[in-house]
């Protein structure tokens, strides 16, 4: 039995410890905002927080998360997270939307550690998150707007 706290709720999971955290969250806990895009930590669609750190859930075995605190897009309520979501809405960043949970989680993690990132810092921090709709110009702009909001 593996215990996980997800968005403040405890779960005891009787699952294969090698199962990626992503599938435990999606298929067993039923939170589907965190997406499967590649399975090898290349696209960032599955970005969530494990013990406060942004990780790729598709490449994090459940065993490595045992006893941990997980925050998904559904539970994102930090000031940086709220500011990012607000900026995303104001600038209409999304297109198909599939990667956006991961983008938002990554953007909020960036602002939590670096409240005033430069373009280069944004690019470096978000380069692991692919958006095939190429909403990147708006992602940059929205992170800057959220940064101003937080200042």
């Amino acid at each position: 039995m593996i215990r996980l706290t997800v968005n403040g709720i405890e779960h005891d999971l009787d699952l294969d410890p090698s199962m990626p955290l992503l599938w435990a969250i999606r298929d067993h806990i039923g939170l589907t905002g965190t997406k499967y895009g590649c399975g090898i930590a290349q696209c960032g669609s599955c970005t969530l927080y494990l013990n406060g750190t942004a990780v790729r859930a598709c490449a994090t075995p459940l065993s490595a998360a045992a006893g941990g605190q997980v925050t998904t897009i559904e539970g994102l309520d930090t000031p940086a997270g709220k500011a990012v979501q607000q900026a995303w809405a104001e600038l209409d960043v999304v297109q198909c939307g599939f990667c956006q949970s991961g983008q938002i989680m990554a953007a909020a993690a960036l602002l939590a550690s670096n409240p005033e990132p430069t373009d280069a810092e944004i690019d470096a921090a978000l380069a692991g998150n692919i958006c095939r709709c190429a909403t990147y110009a708006r992602i940059r702009a929205a992170i800057k707007r959220a940064s101003e909001q937080l200042a």
Binding site: D16, T32, G39, Q42, V94, Q95, F98, R132
Partner: protein
């Protein structure tokens, strides 16, 4: 479950239904719609559920697009897939404009599969999304739908207030009369429902538009995509549902000879292993068990590769070169290009090639099928309802109308989800059938499946020979194109192959807009075993590259400025000229650039929209091409949602930039060499240029914007690289030697 509730329910019934659905929604005026409650446990109500809460009826054809609730909500039924391009915003904007609704009372909801009510008006009787047609084909239809609803509300108010209808004003979701009377849409909804549907309606003068053209309008699908609640096919969970992963053969055309299901069945959570025409499916209680089961199965499978495709990209290209030496089927002939070339003062000949490309949408291919009492329910990011309905029905021995399709959001598509063979819907139906047709199944491809399963933008080779006269004017253009047809052997062949020419292979080339007296365009469509399909902007993905690069080469040969050279040859094509002029002006064409930067330009029409782009490029040490800035001008007729148009220009250009700089699917001995995003590389944020978008003001009917930005960037960048280095790059992705 009552799926046949009729329209115009009493308020009490609606409220009960609303409570049952957990929506708290009342409804009074429903134009041509009846309700079918879904199990709210399984699928949350709201945009994206698409067809889950509403079913088409026959009462008010063809305008089954508007529902006004007694709670003052206005629901617009959207017949086109939302895959990012903005249909859930653009189509409701048209309805809301003619209705004079408030934008914040508008909700978007996907239409069910019903080709009588929701066909694409450009596709005859077929329902589906593609070819950048959503706005263009819906324009008049939705204006009339909105205007009809408005007129019924006005009539209801006129009767209630006993005043002449023409004295009633409608604005921002409310009706008013000089006497001081006022009512909201919601307050009038029930009364309006009993009004006769008007046969003729008055449409607004564009000068009266308040929502159309308003850059402040925000997307209707944004909220759920920001908080994680938006529902994609990948997210669907149904009671007892099994997840199916398919083991496809490593080479196209191979089949299963033998396999041992025992190791897969031994994996905890694996429920079944079934053979289907496209391979072997492992069904598990969740993704992970099905994945482990499939892994366990792999080593036991023996493939029959007697008919497998075994060529590599290099051999294919070599074959295409041989074909290009021979005359092809003529797609266009103006004058006598061969003779004119023989007499030209200067002649240039160039060969261009582009590789196979995967669509690589962020949501890997998936599809859900569940049993129903009288058929099946397909839940899918559905782009091709009528074809998919027929295909699934064929597999399952049902009538098409027994295949009920619920259209969810698609996590990108770029054409992939409108497969002309309905490949993955058929695969899901085959699995559902082989597994006994009693259990809901979700077909889920991995990224590797998605990358390797084919249905690529085909590899194309272009050879162009062009000539200038002694004064530097182009007099001849001879263009030979070689590449697989994406429509031969599909239901689209009849419409899209004309006189032996697949129109999608030559679009953007045979309609060359430049004033050249002698033009010949020819096509070879060799048949190969690699599955191919349309890919965002279709033929223009390769024709624009070849044409716009060669025109640039001709300009250089003539010693002329690339913009001025094009402008002079585009007489009679004012919309091409308009975007070219605007992009050049906004980009500061001809003004000095920072050291190391250079500019390139391209202009192209696709899907009746016109786009010009100026790319600013820096060639870094080691030959790495960096695109710093792109200025885009677009003419898409009346701009319904300027901000969505800008987003599609930014994103469509970015999508094309992946193909220009990074992406290629290559084959070796029939095996696809790429598998995931580490080797099928796509644009990431660190290579995204600054983008500036300018929209040409227009009173022409609106045309699409989902695709037309994509094909323009590769030639613009290649031409900028020439300006920087003097090297002509004629192969995608662009690589400097």
């Amino acid at each position: 479950m009552d799926t046949n509730r009729i329209e115009n329910l009493s308020r009490r019934d609606f409220l009960q239904l609303g409570i049952k659905l957990g929506m708290g929604v009342g409804a009074g005026l429903t134009l041509g719609l009846r309700l079918a409650p879904v199990d709210a446990q399984m699928l949350p109500a709201g945009p994206g559920i698409a067809g889950g809460t509403d079913r088409a009826a026959s009462a008010f054809e063809p305008n089954a697009f508007v529902r006004i609730g007694t709670d003052d909500t206005v629901t617009v039924i959207v017949k086109h897939l939302e895959m990012g391009q903005g249909t859930y915003t653009g189509l409701p904007t048209i309805v809301a404009e003619e209705l004079d609704a408030r934008w914040d009372q508008i909700r978007a909801e996907g239409a069910p599969a019903d080709s009588r009510l929701y066909n694409n008006l450009f596709w005859g009787p077929a329902q589906g999304t593609g070819g950048s047609t959503a706005i263009a084909n819906s324009w008049e239809q939705l204006r009339k739908a909105g205007a009809a609803a408005r007129q019924m509300l006005v009539q209801a108010a006129a009767e209630r207030w006993e005043v002449p209808a023409q004295e009633i004003e409608v604005r921002d979701g409310a009706l008013t009369h000089a006497s001081g009377r006022r009512a909201t849409f919601g307050e009038l909804a029930e009364a309006a429902a009993s009004q006769p549907v008007p046969a003729e309606v008055r449409l607004k003068d564009p000068a009266e538009f308040r929502l159309i053209g308003n850059p402040e309008i925000r997307r209707k699908d944004a909220a759920g995509k920001i908080d994680g609640s938006a529902l994609f096919t990948q997210d669907v969970r149904l009671p007892g549902m099994l997840t199916a992963l398919v083991l496809h053969p490593p080479r196209f055309g191979a089949r299963v000879r033998s396999f041992d299901p025992a190791p897969a069945r031994a994996v905890p959570g694996v429920a079944r292993v079934v053979q289907i025409p496209s391979g072997l499916a492992v069904l598990g209680r969740d993704f992970w068990s099905a994945k482990l089961g499939r892994d366990a199965l792999t080593s036991s499978v023996v493939w029959d590769e007697s008919e497998a495709f075994r060529l590599g990209s290099e051999e294919i290209l070599a074959q295409f070169r041989t074909l290009a030496d021979q005359p092809g089927t003529v797609a266009r002939r103006d004058g006598d290009a061969q003779s004119a070339l023989a007499n030209a003062a200067r002649v240039i000949e160039a060969e261009f090639s582009v590789p196979y490309l995967a669509h690589a949408a962020m949501e890997p291919i998936d599809c859900v099928i569940a049993p129903e009492a009288d058929g099946v329910r397909v839940i899918n990011g559905e782009q091709s309802q009528t074809a998919d309905q027929g295909a699934a029905a064929g597999v399952l021995g049902l009538k098409p109308e027994q295949v009920r399709i619920e259209m969810l959001y698609a996590g990108g598509s770029f054409g992939r989800r409108a497969n002309p063979h309905s490949d993955f819907v058929v695969e899901a139906a085959e699995i559902f059938k082989a597994a006994g047709a009693k259990t809901p199944i979700k077909l889920q491809w991995t990224r590797e499946d998605d990358t390797r399963a084919g249905w690529y933008r085909p590899l194309f080779l272009h050879r162009i020979k062009a000539g200038l006269d002694a004064e530097g004017r182009p007099i001849a253009w001879h263009h030979r194109i070689v590449g697989q047809s994406i429509v031969t052997g599909t239901p689209f062949e009849k419409v899209l192959v004309k006189d032996g020419v697949d129109q999608t292979s030559v679009e953007g080339a045979a309609n060359l807009p430049y004033a050249i007296p002698h033009i010949q365009t020819e096509l070879h469509s060799p048949k190969l075993g690699v599955p191919v399909q349309w890919w965002r902007s279709v033929g223009s993905t390769h024709t624009a590259f070849a044409v716009e690069c060669l025109i640039d080469e001709l300009a250089a040969l003539a010693g002329q400025d690339p913009v001025a050279f094009r402008m002079a040859l585009l007489d009679g094509h004012p919309r091409h000229q308009g975007v070219l002029r605007l992009a050049a002006e906004k980009a500061g064409w001809g003004t000095p650039l920072p050291a190391g930067r250079s500019r390139g330009v391209a202009v192209h029409e696709s899907f009746n929209s016109f786009v010009a782009q100026v790319a600013e490029v820096t060639v870094r040490k080691g030959g790495r091409i960096r695109v710093d800035r792109v200025v885009i001008a677009v003419d898409c007729g009346i701009a319904i949602n300027p901000d969505v148009i800008k987003a599609q220009m930014e994103g469509g250009m970015g999508f094309g930039l992946s193909a220009a700089l990074q992406s290629e699917i290559t084959l070796k001995d029939g095996l696809v060499q790429q598998s995931n995003f580490h080797d099928y590389q796509v644009l990431r944020i660190d290579r995204m240029p600054e983008v500036e978008v300018h929209i040409v003001p227009s009173a022409e009917p609106p045309t699409g914007v989902g695709e037309p930005a994509t094909p323009v960037i590769a030639p613009a960048v290649a031409n900028a690289v020439f300006a920087a280095t003097g090297q002509r790059l004629r192969q995608l992705p662009l690589k400097l030697a």
